[in-house]
Amino acid sequence: MSAVQETVTEAPAVEAVPKRAMTLGAGSSLVMLALLILVPLFVKNFIIFQLTMLLIYGLAVLALNILTGGSGQFSLGQSAFYAVGAYTSAILIEHVGMNYALTLPIAGVVCFGFGFLFGQPALRLSGVYLALATFALATAMPQLLKLGVFETWTGGVQGLVVTKPDAPFGLPMSQDMWLYYFTLVITVAIYIFSVNLLKSRSGRAFMAIRDNEIAASAMGIDVALYKTLAFGVSAGITGVAGGLGAIAVQFVAPDGYTITLAISLFLGMVVGGVGWLPGSIVGSAFIIFVPNIAEGISKGLSGAVFGVLLFLIIFLVPHGARQIAMIAQQLLGKLKKS
């Protein structure tokens, strides 16, 4: 009696977001895309590099958003998938001599497999217990990468240096700009794929599981399959982001993929709005730029300043960027009427 009843009466951990509310309208999406295409033409290479990192972390946050916002499973282990993706790309580029673009799908597939397999034991866990299990994964990963057994491939603690690709076909653009547009194309493709995934039969299955697992299984949804699938897809996308990250940063080392990264991604998701895919980019901007702002305010207390800023955001707009977007939309609606 008790277990079933508890599950049924327990409020869902992640609030139900209707699928229409998970994306942006066509108009705003195009404006956003135009901005992302045009801005790099007018800024310095350093800013372009930061924008590239923005897209890459945006992808990783998006992946977590599919897992948590979509299927209602928590993960603090995204840094592990990110690391596997980064190392897969780095090793293929540096040791096998493969073209960087080809390594990304491989990184994605490897991570999909890894995530799918990890999803199997994770099935038995939910809520905070699942968060803990993934946490363990994230803390274990940097040490696994340091293991002597893999050292010839991973470079051990010294890491691996990755060569940055030039623009192909003699295009007259800098390495940074080329990498930005390359990343942008992949990001947009994955974004469209994710939106469609959530609108599809599988996406509906994810959300049914998120909202009520028992009801979902009563409707004939293979709960185990879809839960692991969500893990696989999320890990796969994170892996691609990791691979891109390795190419952009030109370096992989175990210390780059600690639990701090996993927590940053989680933070990005919450700030962007859980379950709101466009919020991923806002969340990513938060985790890239706000620490810099905090450092600008006070060097010695940057952590504390960051904490205060984060607290203010959670307190004032608990639903993150999604809430701001909704308020803006309502205001626009009123303006149109009057």
Binding site: K44, V161, F251, D255, G256, T258
Partner: protein, 409 residues
């Protein structure tokens, strides 16, 4: 009236021409790259002010204070130092972002003393490709001394391998039949060290009868000590960071294991390791040093240390003189200032590297007497000497000659 005006114009134009001529010739003598000007030299720096290695952030703070002192005293050849230091949280991707920000956005002349082997590895290729000096990096990894492949990167402190070789030399001379046990931290620091030790022992590497590694996340290393004791070793080399070095000393006293105990220089701090572990437990421990210990009373009347303490009192009152990082930051900043002084009015990146690679017997205030910084275009390891020391009473006693840890021997 008219002629007076003409005269005025003539006088004025002569002044202008004369002025232009003098400034023109002055400009010809001065050479600048991005980041340097008549009034300012911009220096970038990356430190882990937050994150797992935040204890080292003190180095950055001390350096900032030292440059403030230099500025207050009139700067370097009249130019003020603008020290821009960013936090990377000991994360390599963040270090890359900050390095790019320094070079491309803040337009610094050079990046000075960035801390951490992973972070420096991450930015090395970028800085060398952009031909920006990565000077006096704050890590003891041996790979920074590679002028052929990375002509824009230079270390500062003695390499871990050099130090380990000195212990190997000592043991082969003093205790040729030693059975050595090693405890090392499982990261770049520990492994670099172990390699140096084995290379130093050479054909006699079989003297090492037991080695154990630990992770920094382990709460205690007691079980490793017990295991190493069981190996029957009579020499114990502790390649550990401060917290674990103190634990090892305590545990060994507890189980009454008294081998010849060597502690790496990283953990030779009296204030940070020996005192917490107990003076009575630490008698006879060996180590090697290159800098003076702020906690050691034998330097109280040393002129260099007096200057150091006066600096702390005036410019960095919050600093703890017992913290080895403060002594470190002071020495590194002093070396940087020396290089910039040598550059004179030719503040190009190329000349900065050239001057950094031709230091002759330069001795910062905080280095041990007799240890000097020497560099050449083929030797990018500024400090390469150490002196052995033995703990007695409440302080280290230096003994023997200053030994060089040259890799070639």
């Amino acid at each position: 009236m008219r002629s007076r005006l003409n005269l005025l114009i003539a006088a004025f134009s002569t002044t202008v021409i004369a002025f232009a001529a003098t400034t023109g010739s002055a400009l010809a003598q001065k050479k600048y790259d991005t980041g340097a000007a008549d009034t300012e030299i911009r220096i970038g720096n990356i430190m882990p002010y937050s994150g797992p290695a935040s204890a080292y952030g003190v180095i950055g703070k001390t350096e900032a204070a030292y440059f403030n002192k230099i500025n207050a005293e009139g700067g370097i050849n009249g130019r003020k130092i603008n020290f821009i230091s960013y936090d990377d949280g000991y994360s390599p991707p963040k270090a890359v972002e900050q390095a790019r920000k320094l070079v491309e956005s803040d337009e610094v002349l050079l990046v000075f003393n960035p801390l951490g082997t992973p972070s420096n590895s991450a930015i090395q290729k970028y800085l060398n490709a952009r031909k920006v000096p990565q000077l006096f990096v704050a890590t003891g990894a041996t790979k920074w001394n590679d002028p052929k492949d990375f002509p824009w990167t230079m270390g500062w402190q003695p390499g871990y391998q050099s130090e380990a070789r000195i212990y190997a030399k000592y043991l082969m001379r003093e205790k040729p039949d030693a059975k050595i046990s090693v405890l090392y931290q499982n990261d770049d620091f520990g492994k670099d060290y172990l390699k140096g030790l084995k290379d130093g022992l050479g054909a006699k590497a079989s003297m090492i009868v037991a080695e154990e590694s630990y992770e920094t996340s382990e709460p205690t290393i007691d079980n490793h000590i017990v295991k190493l004791r069981a190996s029957g070793a009579d020499v114990f080399i502790s390649i550990t960071t401060p917290k674990f070095a103190a634990q090892a000393i305590k545990k060994m006293a507890e189980i009454e294991w008294k081998p010849l105990h060597i502690v790496s220089n990283v953990s030779a701090s009296v204030g940070g390791v020996i005192k917490p572990a107990g003076f009575e437990n630490s008698q006879g421990i060996l180590s090697a040093a290159y800098a003076k210990d702020g906690a050691d009373p034998q330097w109280d009347n040393d002129p260099g240390m007096k200057k150091f303490l006066a600096f702390l009192a005036k410019y960095d009152a919050d600093a703890n003189k017992l913290d080895g990082s403060v002594v470190y930051g002071y020495g590194a900043a002093q070396t940087m200032v020396k290089v910039l002084e040598l550059c004179g009015d030719n503040l190009t990146r190329e000349n900065v590297m050239k001057q950094a690679a031709s230091l002759k017997d330069f001795a910062p205030d905080t280095l041990l007497p007799g240890i000097k910084i020497n560099t050449t275009p083929t030797d990018f390891a500024p400090i390469n000497q150490l002196q052995m020391m033995r703990f007695k009473g409440e302080k280290w006693e230096l003994f023997g000659d200053i030994i060089s840890g040259e890799l070639s021997n």
